[in-house]
């Protein structure tokens, strides 16, 4: 058991290190940030000064060494553009992104599960077929396109929702949240729906598939034979068994939602991490790009590692053989 965990831990660390190498050297290949950040009226001397100020005068492997030794102390570098620690800048914008992703997740479940279950229980009805076709539309529509359409309809033409940005915030536990104010909620509505769109479609399909499978199971036939009402069967037995895969997949999807918020945040000028990373890529703010990517790698590797531990606790074969899945 311990040998297995140690090996997994070593593997995880190796992955993080390899990714650090790839990300760092990869990001440093393209262009030169100084060319973008410097005032066009520069002279050669000022150019050289800027290169030194950003630490770009060192050979790449030395830069990497500096990065690595700082990273071990929890410092992922100072942003070229903002002049502040990259980690601090990302942390500043994390709550906005989490809020957006959380709201989208909530919408997916609240809208997706009932629709999907309906389509699953009555697979041949006209409504169900529309729901299913609609769900295909849901993940076929390009998010960015839907986003701007929504702005056009709800903000410009109807004027009922604010077009962009994050609304008023309230501080809870030292973090600013906007969903607790009415103004904040109105700002949150469109981006959340936009981001949730694909996930609603996903949940519809998962719960429909789940419902169809469950409906064929013996215990449902049993329940029916026992004379339970259709309503009770659906709400208790089917829902319970359908929710398990939905929740599992959605848990995994949270990371994907956060990643995809890049698009939504760009369209709606939502001040989250996604907007920061896209803008940082565009101006070659390498420390932020590297920090963001490394944080993500770390996050996912940690999740994987924890999942492994849980598996090993649950599955005796792994404990004994240590051979993995």
């Amino acid at each position: 058991m311990w040998a297995y965990l140690t090996r997994r831990l070593a593997q995880a660390i190796a992955v993080v290190f390899v990714m650090a190498v790839i990300v760092f050297f990869g990001v440093n290949v393209i262009g030169n940030p100084v060319d973008i950040l410097i005032n066009p009226e520069f002279t050669e001397a000022e150019y050289q000064q800027a290169i030194r100020a950003l630490g770009l005068h060192l050979p790449l492997h030395e830069q990497f060494f500096v990065f690595l030794s700082n990273a071990l102390e929890g410092d992922l570098g100072i942003s070229f553009v903002w002049g502040e620690p990259a980690l601090k800048l990302i942390a500043q914008r994390l709550p906005a992104t989490l809020e957006l992703a959380g709201a989208a997740m909530f919408l997916s479940i609240v809208l997706g599960v009932p629709l999907g279950m309906y389509a699953g229980t009555k697979p041949h009805s006209w409504v169900s077929k529309s729901i299913v076709s609609g769900s295909i539309l849901g993940f076929s529509l390009p998010t960015f396109w839907v986003g701007i359409m929504m702005i056009m309809v709800f903000a410009v033409m109807l004027g009922i929702l604010p077009s962009t940005g994050r609304g008023d915030t309230v501080e809870v536990f030292g973090i600013e949240w906007s969903f607790l104010t009415w103004n904040g909620l109105t700002h949150l509505a469109m981006p959340a729906v936009n981001l949730a769109l694909t996930n609603i479609a996903l949940v519809i399909r998962l719960s429909r598939a789940g419902t169809r499978e469950v409906m064929l199971q013996d215990y449902i036939k049993f329940a029916r034979a026992k004379g339970l009402s259709q309503r009770r069967i659906t709400l208790v037995h089917v829902l319970k068994n359908t929710l398990i895969p939905v929740v599992t997949v959605l848990g995994l999807e949270l990371g994907s939602l956060i990643a995809f918020s890049v698009v939504t945040e760009t369209v709606f000028a939502w001040p989250g991490m996604g907007k920061l990373i896209i803008e940082s890529i565009q101006v070659l703010d390498r420390p932020i790009v590297v920090a963001y990517l490394m944080l993500t790698v770390l996050l996912f590797v940690t999740i994987n590692f924890l999942v492994d531990i849980v598996y090993s606790l649950l599955d005796p074969r792994v404990r004994v053989s240590g051979a993995g899945k």
Partner: protein, 523 residues
């Protein structure tokens, strides 16, 4: 009872209305990267700093110098300028402004840690001496006519913040203390910047009680925010939307010419230029007739009308006429495709040659579209054109030093130049003068054009303190460069701002392209 409720509601309504009338919401294309006025010497930062801070000399909407924290300035001898400071000015924290703050600022500004572009540009090679509390001398080794312009770019901060003040302390607001029309309140990066009227301001008070700035980078989103009334004022109105916005009765547009010329730079240093084909290793761009043909083949009116939707002005030199040091003899080259073909044939290229135009696609207004239009026009005189555009993050590094031995990579590029000084020496020095790293000349001369005659005039102008003489020298240098087609000017960029009518605002367009709230006035 009922009446009381109604009254209270009305009062609340009234209070709400007046409060909102005093707060102006702004949708800004690019956000400053710091509240430290000396951290990053670049457009968005300097534009924002101008609200909270002031320099000794201010630039008005057309970049004319006007008294700021200095009431007067003059050269006392060939190498010394004297600045008389304004008395009775108070910083936002209530402390008095005097010469110590000026000296302190000029010491700190070029030396900010991690600065990607420092204010050394304006301060290096100069020493400053406090004569008395309200007199400062600026001394250079050689005569230096641009002293007032240079110092108009440096934002004065209070010496009370201490020499070890950090950028982070400015960002948090602790050290963000200036003398400007507005006080800094709060900055949430990527979200909002709040500033408030400085009631103790020495000059005309700010027109608005509060200004709330929202960065909205996406063009359609910014326009949508204005149309929806979420913001009262936006900058960088995309040319695509101008036509529509003109038809909206509650939107007021303000367009103004800028100091920025969009131009073509040509490889003038390689015989075998990498992006020219079909010439047997010869570089046709060395031939004035070919350059002339290219210039004649470009229909500037069509670019302005079709690509820029009417918001640009065809260019014939480095800065729009009327700016200091421009020539009165230079006009935009008229469209003449037949003449162009004839010139090409005379130069020995009756069937043209292969040429690739490179340009950025996210730097200037409609840059990629202009490059494609140029491609179309040159194709029509027989040059086999290819168009390649890329993000500025890739383009500028390659265009400046992407080739072997850090030479420029491309043969034919579309770029732009805004004159930060508001006069002709800026483009002449950086674009036309031969590359000379040691003396800071030709830093953006990506064609490596070199003309000793022009060089001499430029250097002479930069050492002539007498305004009239300098202006004549700059105009002469401009004429030589343009008649030799060192660069091919296309058009002067025109910038557009938009305000909502009900907010009662008007923006006075600025030639330096800045969005600063001093220029945003009540109608």
């Amino acid at each position: 009872m009922k009446r009381i409720v109604t009254l209270a509601a009305a009062a609340a309504l009234f209070a709400g209305a007046s409060a909102s009338a005093q707060t102006v919401k702004v949708g800004l294309f690019s956000e400053p990267s710091a509240m430290d006025p000396h951290y990053h010497n670049l457009g968005p930062n300097n534009a924002f700093s101008s609200n909270v801070y002031e320099s000794l000399i201010l630039q008005d909407e057309s970049q004319k110098l006007t008294p700021g924290l200095a009431v007067s300035w003059k050269p006392v001898n060939d190498t010394t300028w004297e600045f008389k400071l304004r008395k009775g000015v108070k910083f936002h924290d209530g402390s008095d402004f005097n010469a110590d703050d000026v000296i302190f600022t000029f010491e700190r500004a070029p030396n900010v840690a991690n600065s990607p572009s420092t204010f050394g540009t304006y301060l290096k090679g100069k020493s400053f001496k406090k004569i008395d509390d309200y007199t400062v001398h600026a001394i250079t080794e050689k005569p230096y006519p641009l002293m007032p312009v240079d110092l108009s770019q440096v934002w004065i901060i209070s010496s009370d913040v201490g020499a070890d003040v950090t950028t982070a302390q400015f960002n948090s607001g602790k050290a963000a203390i200036g003398t400007g029309q507005y006080k800094f309140i709060e900055w949430k990066p990527g979200d909002t910047i709040l500033i408030e009227r400085n009631d103790g301001y020495w000059g005309d008070k700010a027109a608005f009680e509060r200004v709330e700035v929202k960065p909205i980078k996406s063009n359609p989103s910014r326009v949508a925010a204005l149309l929806a009334g979420d913001v009262d004022f936006i900058d960088n109105v995309p040319t695509a939307d101008i036509e529509r916005l003109k038809t909206e009765s509650d939107i007021v547009l303000a367009s103004g010419i800028s100091n920025r010329v969009i131009y073509l730079h040509m490889d003038r240093f390689r015989d075998d230029s990498p992006y020219i084909t079909g010439t047997n290793g010869k570089n046709p761009l060395f031939d004035l007739r070919v350059r002339k043909a290219i210039s004649k083949a470009i229909n500037r009116e069509a670019i302005v009308a079709r690509v820029m939707e009417g918001v640009a002005i065809p260019a014939g030199q480095l800065l729009p006429p009327g700016f200091f040091g421009t020539s009165e003899n230079l006009k935009a080259e008229p469209y003449d495709p037949e003449g162009a073909k004839k010139l090409l044939a005379e130069a020995g290229y009756p069937d043209g040659f292969g040429l690739t135009i490179h340009g950025p696609n996210d730097r200037y207004i409609n840059d990629a579209k202009i490059a494609q239009a140029i491609g179309q026009m040159l194709t029509r005189i027989g040059i086999k054109m290819k168009v390649e555009t890329m993000p500025k993050s890739v383009f500028f590094s390659s265009a400046s030093r992407g080739g072997p031995n850090k030479t420029p990579k491309y043969s034919f590029i579309l770029v732009g130049w805004g004159s930060g000084t508001g006069e002709a020496s800026s483009p002449l020095k950086s674009l036309v003068h031969s590359k000379d790293a040691a003396n800071g000349f030709g830093a953006s001369n990506r064609g490596r054009y070199s003309n000793p005659e022009a060089d001499k005039l430029i250097e002479e102008a930069l050492a002539t303190v007498d305004d009239a003489k300098r202006e004549a020298l700059l105009a002469k240098a401009t004429e030589i460069a343009i008649n030799d087609l060192a660069i091919i000017p296309l058009h002067y960029q025109v910038n557009t701002w938009a305000t909502r009518k009900e907010a009662g605002l008007k923006y006075l367009p600025r030639t330096d392209e800045r969005t600063q709230f001093r220029s945003l006035v009540k109608q």
